[in-house]
C-alpha cells in the first residue's frame, strides 16, 4: 500500500484530470483534451477510464468494475484488483451498492441513482473519425454544430442494409448541442443515457479526451423521421434467469450449432436467479 499514492496517480495529475472532468460536465458532450498519463496497462484496456476513476475515487467509495456487463472477465478483474491494491477501497459486484462503476461497453440493467458515478472506457471518442479523417475539421464541425455528415453515416446504413445497422457506438446528440460517441455500448443501452440521475464520465486514454454527461441530461439518439431509432436486442429470454428485458449475449455451447442466450449483466442475472425469478 505505502509505495503508491492513493489510487496510483499523484495528486497533481488527479487535479489536472478533475479540471478536465469539471469542464466536461460544464459543457455536456464536449471532448475536453487532457494530458493522459501512461498507466501500468496497455492502451485499449481502459487507461482512460482508469485515470478518470482514479481522479474521482475517495476512500469511502465502493467500486464496481464491469467488462461487457460481466464482473468476472479479465479486464474487470484486473482493474478491480488494481484499485484494491493502490487505493484500498471496498469493491462490490452489486450495482446498487456501488458508488463508482467503471464500465466497458455496457450500462448496468439496474437503474442508477444520484449517488453514483458511471465511468466509461472509450476507445475512440470522435464520432466522425471514420467519416472525416482530419481532426482539425471534426473539431470545426463540433464548434459550428455542422453535423450533416453524421446523418450521412446513418443514410448509408439504410441505403446498404435497409435499416440503421449501427448496433453499437450509436451516435447521440447531447442537450441539443454536441454529437457524442457514447463509447461502444450496444444501442440497446442508449435510452439509459437519457435523463440518467447518475453522473456519466467518459475517458479515452490513448486519444487523450474526457467528456461527460451531468445528471438528467437530455440525450437523443440520431435517426430519421421514417426510420426511427430502435433499441434492439436478441429476441430471446435469458437461459439462466429468464429475463426478457435485459441485453443478452449469445454463447456458443458446442460445435454443432448449439447456443444459448444469457444476460450480459452478470450481477443483474445472478440476483434474479437468487431471488427465484
Amino acid at each position: 500500500m505505502s509505495e503508491y499514492n492513493f489510487a496510483y496517480l499523484d495528486e497533481d495529475t488527479k487535479r489536472m484530470i478533475r479540471r478536465a472532468i469539471l469542464k466536461g460536465i460544464a459543457v455536456p458532450g464536449y471532448q475536453v483534451p487532457f494530458a493522459s498519463r501512461e498507466m501500468p496497462m496497455p492502451y485499449g484496456w481502459g487507461t482512460g477510464g482508469v485515470q478518470v476513476t482514479a481522479a474521482t475515487l475517495i476512500p469511502e467509495d465502493v467500486l464496481k468494475v464491469i467488462d461487457q456487463g460481466a464482473d468476472d472477465t479479465t479486464n474487470a478483474v484486473s482493474i478491480r484488483k488494481f484499485f484494491q491494491r493502490t487505493a484500498g477501497v471496498a469493491v462490490t459486484e452489486r450495482t446498487t451498492d456501488a458508488t463508482i462503476i467503471q464500465t466497458r461497453h455496457r450500462i448496468p440493467e439496474m437503474p442508477l441513482t444520484e449517488n453514483q458515478i458511471l465511468v466509461y472506457q472509450v476507445p475512440i471518442p470522435e464520432p466522425m473519425r471514420f467519416l472525416e479523417p482530419r481532426e482539425t475539421e471534426t473539431r470545426r464541425i463540433h464548434a459550428l454544430a455542422d453535423y450533416g455528415l453524421m446523418q450521412v453515416r446513418l443514410y448509408e446504413d439504410i441505403a446498404r442494409h435497409g435499416e440503421i445497422a449501427t448496433s453499437y457506438a450509436y451516435p447521440v446528440e447531447v442537450a441539443g448541442r454536441y454529437v457524442m460517441d457514447p463509447s461502444p455500448i450496444p444501442k440497446f443501452d442508449n435510452p439509459k443515457l437519457d435523463d440518467c440521475p447518475a453522473i456519466q464520465l467518459f475517458g479515452a486514454g490513448r486519444e487523450q479526451r474526457i467528456y461527460a454527461l451531468p445528471p438528467h441530461t437530455r440525450v437523443h439518439s440520431l435517426d430519421f423521421d421514417d426510420y426511427p431509432f430502435v433499441a434492439s436486442k436478441a429476441e430471446h429470454a435469458c437461459a439462466i434467469c429468464g429475463s426478457e428485458a435485459s441485453y443478452l449475449d449469445e454463447v456458443i455451447t458446442d460445435d454443432s450449432g448449439g447456443r444459448m442466450f444469457v444476460c450480459s449483466d452478470t450481477d443483474y442475472c445472478a440476483q434474479r436467479a437468487e431471488g427465484g425469478a
Binding site: 467519416l131 470545426r140 459550428l144 455542422d146 453535423y147 450533416g148 455528415l149 446523418q151 450521412v152 443514410y155 448509408e156 439504410i158 441505403a159 446498404r160 435517426d223 430519421f224 423521421d225 421514417d226 426510420y227
Partner: protein, 274 residues
C-alpha cells in the same frame, strides 16, 4: 385618398423590384508575400448571370475564385452577397458559422477534380443528400427521392444511387458533383474548370447539361476556365485576367469577337482549330 394609395403602391413596388446585384466585388486583392495573386478586381454579378473568368495559368483566376467563395482570405477589398433574409452582407467579415451556412445553402462550389468535391467512401445518394441533411432534412424517403430526381437531371441512371463515386466514369463523377451541389437550390455557383480533364465528347455533354441547368434554374455562376469555347457557350459576360489584373471585360461575344487588349487578341488567336 386615391393618389395616396397609388403612391404607397408605387413605393412598395419599387422597393420590391429595385434591382440589386447578387454579388458585388470591389477592389479585391490577395498577395502571396511580395508576389501578386490578384489585385484591384471589381465587378457586379446580377441574378441569373454567368460570368466567365479566363486567363492563362498563374493569372490569378483561381486565387480570385478562392477569395470570392470564402476559401481564401483576401488582403484587401470587399465582397457583398445579397443574402435571402438579411440583404447584402459582407462575406469576408461574417462569422465562419454564417459563411458555412451560406456554403451549404445559397452557394455551391464545383471543383475541377470531382474527387475534391465528392466523398469517395459514400454512395452517390449519400453524396447528393449530404447538403439536404446538413440543412436539417431528416426524412430518409424524401432525401432519397430528391437524390434520385437530381441524378436523373444530371443524366445518371437513378438505379445507380447506391454505387460509390469510384465506380463512376470521370464525366459521371463530374455530373454527380454538380448534382450534389445543386440539390439545395443554390443561387450562386462557383465553378473552377468544371470541364478540365474530360475528353471532348464528355465535355460537350457536360456543357450542354450545365447550360440547360443554368437557364432552367436561373443560376448565377462565376466560372473560371482557360477554355474559351466553354465561356462562349456558357458565359454572358467575360473577364480576362493576366498577372493578377483584370485587363479586359465585357459581353462574352464582344470580347471574343473584337478583343481590344493585345493579350486578349493573342489568347483568342491561340485557340486551336480543328
Amino acid at each position: 385618398m386615391m393618389t395616396q394609395l397609388a403612391v404607397a403602391d408605387m413605393t412598395q413596388a419599387q422597393a420590391y423590384t429595385a434591382p440589386r446585384p447578387l454579388l458585388s466585388v470591389s477592389n479585391v486583392g490577395k498577395r502571396y508575400g511580395t508576389r501578386i495573386g490578384c489585385t484591384g478586381v471589381s465587378f457586379d454579378l446580377w441574378p441569373g448571370e454567368v460570368l466567365g473568368i479566363v486567363g492563362e495559368s498563374g493569372s490569378g483566376k483561381s486565387t480570385l475564385l478562392g477569395c470570392l467563395s470564402g476559401q481564401l482570405r483576401p488582403d484587401a477589398g470587399e465582397v457583398l452577397f445579397d443574402t435571402r433574409d438579411q440583404g447584402p452582407q459582407d462575406t469576408l467579415n461574417m462569422s465562419e458559422a454564417e459563411r458555412r451556412h451560406l456554403g451549404r445553402t445559397d452557394w455551391a462550389f464545383v471543383h475541377q477534380n470531382p474527387r475534391d468535391g465528392l466523398r469517395p467512401g459514400v454512395s452517390a445518394g449519400g453524396n447528393v443528400g449530404e447538403r439536404l441533411m446538413a440543412n436539417g432534412a431528416r426524412h430518409y424517403g424524401d432525401i432519397r427521392a430528391r437524390a434520385q430526381d437530381w441524378l436523373a437531371r444530371v443524366e445518371i441512371d437513378p438505379t445507380r444511387i447506391d454505387d460509390r463515386p469510384g465506380q463512376f466514369s470521370g464525366g459521371m463523377q463530374q455530373r454527380l458533383q454538380i448534382a450534389r451541389n445543386l440539390v439545395s437550390g443554390p443561387r450562386l455557383v462557383f465553378m473552377d474548370e468544371p470541364t478540365g480533364g474530360l475528353d471532348v465528347s464528355v465535355q460537350a455533354r457536360l456543357l450542354d447539361l450545365l447550360r440547360g441547368l443554368v437557364r432552367d434554374i436561373g443560376l448565377s455562376v462565376v466560372l473560371v476556365t482557360h477554355d474559351l469555347a466553354v465561356v462562349r457557350l456558357l458565359a454572358d459576360r467575360l473577364m480576362v485576367m493576366k498577372g493578377g489584373h483584370v485587363i479586359e471585360s465585357g459581353l462574352t461575344d464582344q470580347v471574343l469577337d473584337d478583343p481590344q487588349h493585345e493579350y486578349t487578341q493573342l489568347l483568342v488567336s491561340s485557340v486551336l482549330q480543328v
